[in-house]
Symmetry: C2
Subunit: 478 residues, 2 copies
């Protein structure tokens, strides 16, 4: 008998678990006995009390029986179940898993410390004042840590606050009953996919596109068609002749190219969807952050044909760890979407929902947006300024006056040069991220997606200078 | 032109939206003009400034163009998309929705006020002290409202705290890497179903069973076989000859019957699963609350064949609005389950995860469990006492010395009598809930599932007396 100790918890528990494994794997057989406590203690070099305690634990779990004066007996009914070899690696158990195994593994920062000057897109603006006021809202909302399950589609106060907010800020007129609270855009898309899309049916995504949306659709079993984006956004003239069931778009600020879908294209898209019975998933992930004119209202505000499923989240505007977003349902899909959300997880956290509702109702959210926008404007200008000062001849900037990132294209750099550049930059403490992974097939010239929300204006200036230095180094190896 | 005002927001916005709808639905035609502001104002009985503001809003949205000295022109490109009739009711858009439409609609209390004496099972014990200490943890954890996405499978500190807790309290030895944080048992089951179960494949559920688990499996497309439960829990001898892919069980405290799965049956079940390559979903929803002997460790602790997917949640032990739970993965399924969770929603809220990790690490959670257990014991005894005092000859009590509810069976009551009883009780401020909805086919005698966590001992005494009074009334109509 070779006992394996797993080093977790106290010694007698480890011994009990090791013995339990022997019993369960049938190495004692039925009706045999455990070793005498004294001899096992001696053999293992542990105290006899440890062995006694382990036996007592096994007895309490009914795996062995002890009678005064006789040795501890292994119970009859513990004949081993047929045990298989350790299953470190097994084949995918469903088509869903087969598909997810084909995806690049999901990359999320996971709170790891990045390089000093990190132009990672996902980093959000942090304002210490936000943290303080959010904390106050949480404390006040903790009273919702009540004894009952909240409504699975969201707290009524939050749904009402969101519908009012959408009317004020995004031109979307909807009833609180049409709003479902979900744990972010990713869940919104999954809930929608289950509701309107069959495995094997087709969906359109933009090219380039947000990788995790593509992953969610592929995992669901969608056949994906990508449609090109130009400076006016999705090229609607290239929508497929055979209509898809679902079209995933980011009209306010195409991710990652930055283009804003023009009004003409918006109307084209709606016409196409209405004529072909497609559903449009509108991901309005950062429509709030606009630096130029008044932003265009959401696509949904033009949607008289009820084909648009509108989705927003608070990850980009508040903080990514707040997993709350919403779906504004077309009337015909409302009940189905509610069921899909309810059956998935019975609803989102009530305390955070209540805190967010209070934050929205008190207009602190809009105050926060104004302050964020002012700060993001500074950061964006610092980055643009740094880029034009240090890299004017080397790059073209694709900038749409909105959002938390911009895209630059290198005029003279190969993809191999890009790899060297990224690696070299990282050594210098500069985190830069190529844009080509967001494309199905890489664009002719390499480019970067530069997130500017996570660094101060001074840091962004330095980052631009660093980038210029690295580029020079990588182009002319000395 | 008949303008419809939607009564949301200010008047000029309502007017702009009404005009927009007319434009989008093509009632102006291309290149026509909006009415002169003065005449529209007169026709509607609103001020001219309101009309001017509405036109200005439409202009900012590029739907109309104004030139000095000429009337406001409807833009060329706003020819109407093909609009369908209002889609209040549409056919189900996927097999998933077809299936969810067949389910009874999901009933969650949604924070509605219940009757005064509510023996609803889902109500949790509320302790004001818990609220106070939870609030402190939340405030401390708000620092996690950071700028980055947390890890999609959960905060490392929480996963580690849970693995230590499971070792101490449930006999489950696992690595923090095997723990995935999900938003509750419902999501755990959905994630597992997507990972191991194909549409059309079979799953076993207990009879009786937890309704929302059944719903989630049916929505996923599982063919369900139910296997009877007796006083030793699932009757393993009646597991189907044709093995299912997944078996959903509640071994610690069968829901709702209350039976504890015996050790012999546990081993039978594991043997069956190993021999037939089935996965077992162990829902350990209230295994902590045991009033008699030391509780049996979790089924997972016997699982040398790595067939058990263990799931727990904090809804029953802390509060239902905290949507956090966990999966302990068999090694072979770990990566697939991680992907399924990550793709669904990119992970759970980081602030609440951090608060919970601190709550577990500081052992406040176990202190809370001890206090809850003491209080639940009082409540349970009050209910048992009240029932035996007032209803001794009328009911049989099925009690397993654990959990937050017990089941009573009426000796002499028809199902029609039960309906009268429930309705009459509600009039008296007493909420009672039949058990037969948890069965595929109703048991021969009617019974009730009596949750005792939400009422004080005194209230439970009163509730028992009320129940007896109602029963007398319903049996002998005067």
């Amino acid at each position: 008998m070779l006992l394996k100790f797993d080093q977790q918890g106290s010694l007698f528990e480890q011994l009990a678990r090791a013995l339990k494994r022997e019993i369960l794997e049938g190495r004692f057989g039925a009706d045999s006995h455990l070793p005498a406590t004294r001899s096992l203690a001696a053999a293992l070099g542990v105290s006899r009390n440890t062995v006694i305690a382990a036996y007592e634990l096994l007895r309490s779990e009914q795996l062995v029986a002890a009678r005064a004066g006789s040795r501890t007996r292994v119970m009859n009914n513990t004949v081993a179940p047929a045990v298989r070899a350790s299953r470190i690696s097994i084949r995918a158990q469903s088509r869903f898993s087969t598909r997810t195994r084909r995806l690049r593994s999901v990359t999320l920062s996971g709170l790891k410390a990045g390089p000093q000057y990190n132009l990672w897109y996902g980093d959000a603006l942090t304002r210490p004042q936000l943290l303080a006021s959010w904390r106050r809202k949480l404390v006040a909302a903790a009273v919702w840590a009540g004894s009952r399950y909240p409504s699975a589609i969201g707290l009524p106060s939050l749904r009402s606050a969101i519908s009012k907010y959408l009317l004020r800020r995004r031109g979307v007129s909807c009833n609180p009953d049409d709003v479902i609270i979900v744990s972010g855009t990713q869940q919104a898309l999954c809930v929608v996919a289950r509701t309107v899309l069959e495995e094997g049916q087709s969906a359109v995504i933009e090219e380039p596109h947000y990788e995790l949306a593509q992953h969610a659709l592929l995992a669901h079993g969608a056949r994906l068609t990508s449609v090109r984006v130009d400076s006016e956004g999705l090229v609607t003239a290239e929508l497929p002749l055979r209509p898809p069931r679902l079209i995933f778009v980011t009209p306010s600020h195409q991710f990652p190219s930055g283009a804003v879908l023009s009004l003409a294209r918006r109307l084209e898209l709606l016409k196409y969807a209405a004529a072909n019975d497609c559903w449009i998933f509108e991901d309005d992930y950062d429509g709030e952050f606009q630096y130029g004119n008044r932003p265009l209202p959401a696509l949904r505000s033009l949607d008289v044909g009820e084909r648009v499923i509108y989705s927003g989240s608070f990850s980009k505007t508040l903080f990514p760890g707040l997993r709350l977003g919403y779906i504004v349902c077309p009337t015909g899909l409302r009940n189905d979407l509610c069921m899909a959300k309810a059956l998935e997880d019975l609803g989102c956290s009530s305390v955070e929902q209540a805190a967010l509702a209070a934050f929205l109702e008190s207009r602190q959210y809009e105050k926060h947006l104004r302050k964020s926008l002012a700060e993001l404007r500074n950061r964006r200008e610092a980055l643009l300024d740094g880029l034009s000062r240090h890299l004017a001849g080397d790059i073209d900037i694709a900038d749409s006056s909105s959002g938390m990132h911009l895209v630059v294209w290198f005029r003279r750099l190969s993809y191999r040069g890009l790899d060297r550049l990224v690696a070299h930059a990282l050594e210098q403490g500069l985190g830069i991220y190529p844009i080509h992974p967001f494309y199905q097939s890489p664009p002719p010239r390499p480019g970067l997606i530069l997130g500017f929300a996570g660094l101060s204006p001074a840091q962004l200036h330095t980052a631009a200078a660093l980038l210029a230095g690295c580029l020079n180094k990588c182009r002319r190896p000395d």
